[in-house]
């Protein structure tokens, strides 16, 4: 399994705040570090990974977990 540098539970946090919080968490990491975020089903899992891609980060894994998803994101170039 991937080494996770930081974990963030964003269940119950709606768009776009979940993306904002994910970005802030990524800011404190180094390039190549992995952040684990929990995102709700529906809009959050549809939108946040796409926005992360647009910002140059890379989703590594998406694991369904009840009505949420555990998502591993690798921090891209700063």
């Amino acid at each position: 399994m991937t080494d996770v540098a930081k974990r963030l539970d964003l269940s119950g946090v709606t768009c776009p705040m979940n993306f904002v919080k994910t970005k802030i968490a990524l800011d404190s990491l180094d390039q190549g570090d992995v952040l684990e975020v929990v995102l709700d089903e529906g809009d959050p899992i549809s939108n946040v990974p796409r926005s992360l891609k647009e910002e140059g980060h890379r989703v590594l894994k998406v694991i369904p977990h009840g009505e949420t998803f555990i998502v591993h994101v690798e921090k891209g170039r700063v």
């Binding site: 899992i45 549809s46 990974p49 796409r50 992360l52 891609k53 890379r58 989703v59 590594l60 894994k61 998406v62 694991i63 369904p64 998803f69």
Partner: protein
């Protein structure tokens, strides 16, 4: 108003030029010509001015991106129309003819957009607006299967669409696509201990969700183009549009098929029969073959 002669309007003629008689005697709604929901700020100012001068200072937005100025007295109709005309705003259409063309923002500004909607809407308008058809004829252009401009509810709809294909050499097996495809058209299968992502084409709605979101662009469009939809209508007898053809690659082919579709309706549609009901009366598959020239 130079002459004070009593105003006479033939109801059919008035509808042609976008004057809709209200239930209040001698008052009309002025229906304006708008393409894909776009007006410039200056045009909006002119609309506002005309509404204040000749109406009751109110503007009504229709469900099809049209704009109407209500409560214009018959004696002011032509003056109001000329003032709008000077600002580059023509009248809309009512009655049994081609109505204003709707459109979503499309690929010019929307990240999901697969086609340039505005250019197509303008060209449809240029070719067909206000031309006669057996019954009202509505068209809409929407950039992708999110269908924001409701192409499936129009007599003729154009929608952007793509067919994704998966590249196993790039995929990092993240499992995102399986979890975000709106129709669950992608499934993950284990083949010799390796993950394969398989597309069920019949379930795919040709949106750009997987191609946009895949972190490494393992899903890309293998085909992309215009989907031509025919026979949609809401109103009294609702019917969603049927697909005539998908992945039409060029504008030329698209407009050729549009022409053949409208031509078929003009020749075969009965009075007060929407295109979709003509299709159902004559048999959808038979008509599709005829329009496609198969």
């Amino acid at each position: 108003m130079s002459e004070a002669k009593p105003f006479q309007l033939d109801p059919n003629e008035s509808r042609k030029v976008g004057y809709i008689p209200q239930k209040q005697i001698d008052y009309y709604a002025l229906r304006l010509h708008v393409i894909a929901g776009d007006l410039s700020a200056n045009q909006l100012k002119a609309v506002a001015e005309v509404a204040e001068k000749y109406g009751r200072g109110e503007v009504h937005i229709s469900t099809r991106q049209g704009m109407e100025i209500h409560f214009v007295h018959a004696s002011n109709l032509d003056t109001a129309r000329l003032e709008l005309d000077a600002a580059g705003i023509k009248m809309g259409a009512c009655g049994p003819r081609v109505r204003i063309v709707m459109g979503c923002p499309g690929s010019a500004t929307c990240k999901f957009g697969i086609i340039e909607t505005k250019a197509i809407a303008k060209e449809l308008d240029r070719r067909y607006f206000r031309t006669d058809t057996p019954y009202k004829f509505k068209m809409s252009v929407t950039g992708c299967s999110h269908n924001c401009a409701k192409a499936t509810e129009n007599d003729l709809g154009v929608m952007g669409g793509l067919l994704p294909a998966w590249d196993k050499n790039i995929c990092i097996d993240c499992n995102l696509c399986v979890n975000i495809c709106p129709t669950k058209a992608i499934s993950k299968q284990e083949v010799n201990g390796k993950s394969e992502y398989v597309l069920e084409e019949s379930a795919c709605i040709n949106c750009s969700v997987c191609t946009l979101s895949c972190p490494v662009n393992s899903w890309t469009a293998s085909k992309s183009g215009y989907t031509l939809l025919i026979g949609g209508t809401l109103g009294k007898i609702p019917r969603l549009a049927s697909v005539l053809k998908k992945y039409i690659p060029t504008e030329e082919e698209l407009f050729n098929l549009v022409e053949r579709s409208i031509d078929f309706y003009r020749k075969n549609g009965r009075k007060k029969e929407r295109f979709g009901h003509t299709l159902d009366r004559l048999g959808l598959e038979t008509v599709k073959k005829e329009i496609l020239g198969e």
